[in-house]
Amino acid sequence: MDAIILQILNGLDKGSAYALIALGLTLIFGTLGVVNFAHGALFMIGAFCAVTMQRLLTLSHTVIDPSQTDFLGNPLQTKVPYLASIIGADGAQALIAWAVPLSIILVIPVMLFVGWAIERGLIKHFYKRPHADQILVTFGLAIVLQEIIRAVYGANPIQSPAPPMFSGSIDLGQYLGFQANAIVYPIWRLVYFGFSTLIIGAVFAFLQFTTFGMVVRAGMADRETVGMLGIDIDKRFTLMFGLAAAVAGLAGAMYAPIVSPNYHMGMDFLVLSFVVVVVGGMGSLPGAVFAGFLLGILQGFASMNEVKAILPGIDQIVIYLVAIIILLTRPRGLMGRVGVMED
């Protein structure tokens, strides 16, 4: 039982990341009709925003300490963050430890800008082009973005810890009446799940309860008619792209303490999130979210030793197996509409 609860928690956690990326993908696809293969890269850029925040806070000047020597026997050059000279060493350390949550203030403008730039500079010219071209050009873009990050930050994963108060784990089992150590779970992962739910809720509320959202939803349903009503869809859709980028970026930034950011993490997520979107049904937002959590949890279950003992290797193929079964029984995924992306 406790093992199952643990895997459900893992699933919700993995699912959160899948769902957030898939949500953004679906928003872009639903509104702009563009298949964005660079979405994984946007997630990755988000994660590197957290790294950048850390770097910004630790921007340092070099102090030469003649009393110590470095490994070559030269006087030791230590780096002192500028921040420390402004607000004192303790304050600086506390602030630096909060780099990941603080990076949210960096992520949102950066991602909105990146999204805007990609849409205006590139995607705009591809609305009328075939999906295959969109896939290829965004795939090319993904490679370019990834390589730029590698050139700047290197290929080694970069540790970006959660703030001290969230970095430990919590024994959830005790609250549920299990023995000690039965269900121990990292606090940050719970925070991540909560954060994702919040973002997902916010996106849905935004679409449901604002005029802007209403227009977007109408545009998703029938772009032409909305256009004929004299509403400038394009402008709103540009913002939509920025929004989707911001969602992916936030998902990435907050994910940084879970998997240390590396330049190819976007590609690792790309294929899985596409499977999620398709299983959910192209163009369906609730489908994307639901499928994200579903596949996350199934992946958790499949990794259990008891399951692997019966079906060896199932943990590595379960997502694809489920995708095949769902697509064969429900032709348009769980919640897809007829005629979307079928030709």
Binding site: N181, Y185, W188, M265
Partner: protein, 453 residues
């Protein structure tokens, strides 16, 4: 044009085909009569440095390249000479090798066997390389070693730690300076026994490929021999990123030790996540829960940051060693690049010099002469003390280092990974030696050396 010398024992006929004004093809097969593949004919000789430059292991590969470049400079008489002055053999005098200046070409393995073999083929066929050096994965090492055997060039393996490289996949044309999984386990076991006692339950997470399997097998055997129990061995996909579904059940499994048979980015993630799951510091069976990472590298330590505190592991070599050779190498590497060399860098540097020395002693670039010169070769002054390249399996034997993660000693952010690993023991070579027909290394045969052509 310099006429190639006969190899020491005259095993092979050599003879440069010299045609006035007619340049020799870079790629020679049965029709040629030089006696071996890519016999250097001009006043230069070319090495191929085949390392991952893109993909997850790229940083390690780039560090290997730095060291290889340094080695070439030292061979050509540039820089301060590094380990040339401490090496027990004094044949290399900074005039290249046998009077030929050393050149090199680089290739990207991407840590994929196919790509690595393509890069190696290009080095052999197009660039006329006489030797291939480097790499950062056992799968790739085995693949490229096989290729070099067929093509008739020497392969120096780089960072590869699987028992198979000099076990069931050993090849006559390949040598490995790096230690292996068995030696890691043999060196770690006594230290672990002292630190954690003889009554422990170990849970293994193992990367699902050749290195992971042999590492797990070796660790399980060594720890069981001192009384530990292996409760579970779970294979994890390489590059999984999030290992939570494999780590979550550990705490409740009754185990009080977690052995992470992971390397590189996988280890960074799995260790970080294991710490997040609160494994370190929990009390299980009345004992402190502990994590072990059998194979460490500086880049992993850097990536894992403070999570490695108190975690034991092993290394082939470390820049903090106090012998003259290490000091000389660290000085010349550090002055050029501004940070100490990693153990992967050391391996590739040393292998380049050892190859050059073997050629000089053999008096020929002929791979078979080189193999003969390297087999059962004993030397000192390359770090790790007295060292032997065993002839029967081409594995190198030397002292092995047991490391422990610590808090950063200098507080210098650039030194994370370099000064967050501390040498706890230099395990003497006798303790990690094994017979060449040890069951974990069985099933392979060196075969005959292949000079190609």
């Amino acid at each position: 044009m310099k006429k190639a010398n006969f190899s020491r024992r005259g095993v092979l006929k050599t003879g440069a085909v010299a045609g006035a004004g007619l340049m020799l093809p870079t790629y020679l097969r049965a029709e040629s009569h030089t006696g071996f593949t890519n016999a250097p004919t001009g006043d230069t000789v070319t090495f191929g440095f085949n390392v991952p430059q893109t993909g997850p292991d790229a940083e390690e590969g780039l560090d290997e390249l730095r060291a290889q470049e340094l080695a070439v400079q030292h061979l050509n008489g540039e820089g301060d000479g590094g380990m040339l002055s401490t090496f027990s053999q004094k044949n290399l005098d900074g005039t290249g090798i046998l009077g030929k200046k050393v050149n090199f070409v680089t290739g990207d393995t991407q840590t994929k066997s196919d790509v690595a073999r393509a890069a190696a083929q290009s080095m052999i066929q197009k660039d006329g390389c006489i030797m291939i050096n480097g790499g950062s994965s056992s799968g790739v090492a085995v693949a490229v070693q096989g290729l070099c055997q067929e093509a008739g060039v020497i392969f120096m393996a780089g960072l590869t730690h699987s028992n198979d490289t000099t076990g069931k996949d050993r090849k006559a044309n390949g040598f490995r300076h790096f230690f292996n999984a068995y030696m890691s386990a043999a060196a770690l076991a006594p230290v672990l026994e002292k630190a954690y006692g003889t009554d422990r339950q170990a849970y293994h997470l193992t990367a699902d490929y050749t290195w992971g399997w042999t590492q797990q097998e070796s660790m399980a055997a060594a720890t069981e021999a001192m009384g530990w129990t292996t409760t579970q061995n779970v294979l994890t996909p390489v590059g999984a990123g999030d290992f939570s579904s494999y780590i979550a059940p550990v705490l409740n499994s009754g185990a009080d030790i977690l052995v992470l048979n992971h390397y590189g980015g996988d280890m960074v993630n799995s260790l970080t996540q294991a710490v997040q799951f609160g494994l370190k510091g929990k009390q299980i069976n009345g004992k402190d829960f502990q994590i072990i990472v059998p194979l460490y590298s500086e880049l992993m330590a850097k990536g894992a940051g403070s999570n490695i505190e108190g975690v034991y592991g092993s290394m082939n070599w470390n820049w903090q060693l106090q012998d003259d050779a290490t000091k000389a190498f660290v000085k010349s590497f550090g002055e050029k690049y501004g940070f100490p060399p990693s153990n992967a860098a050391h391996t590739c540097y040393v292998q380049t010099l050892l190859y050059a020395d073997a050629v000089t002693r053999a008096g020929s670039f002929n791979p078979c002469a080189v193999v003969e010169a390297l087999e059962d070769f004993e030397f000192d002054g390359m770090g790790n003390g007295p060292t032997t390249y065993r002839g029967s399996d081409h594995q190198c034997f030397k002292d092995v280092l047991v490391m422990e993660g610590t808090a950063s000693a200098s507080g210098n952010a650039n030194m994370v990974g370099y000064d967050t690993l501390k040498i706890v023991e230099q395990t003497p070579r006798a303790q990690v030696e094994y017979p060449e027909d040890h069951p974990m290394f069985a099933g392979g045969a060196l075969g005959d050396c292949n000079p190609g052509a």
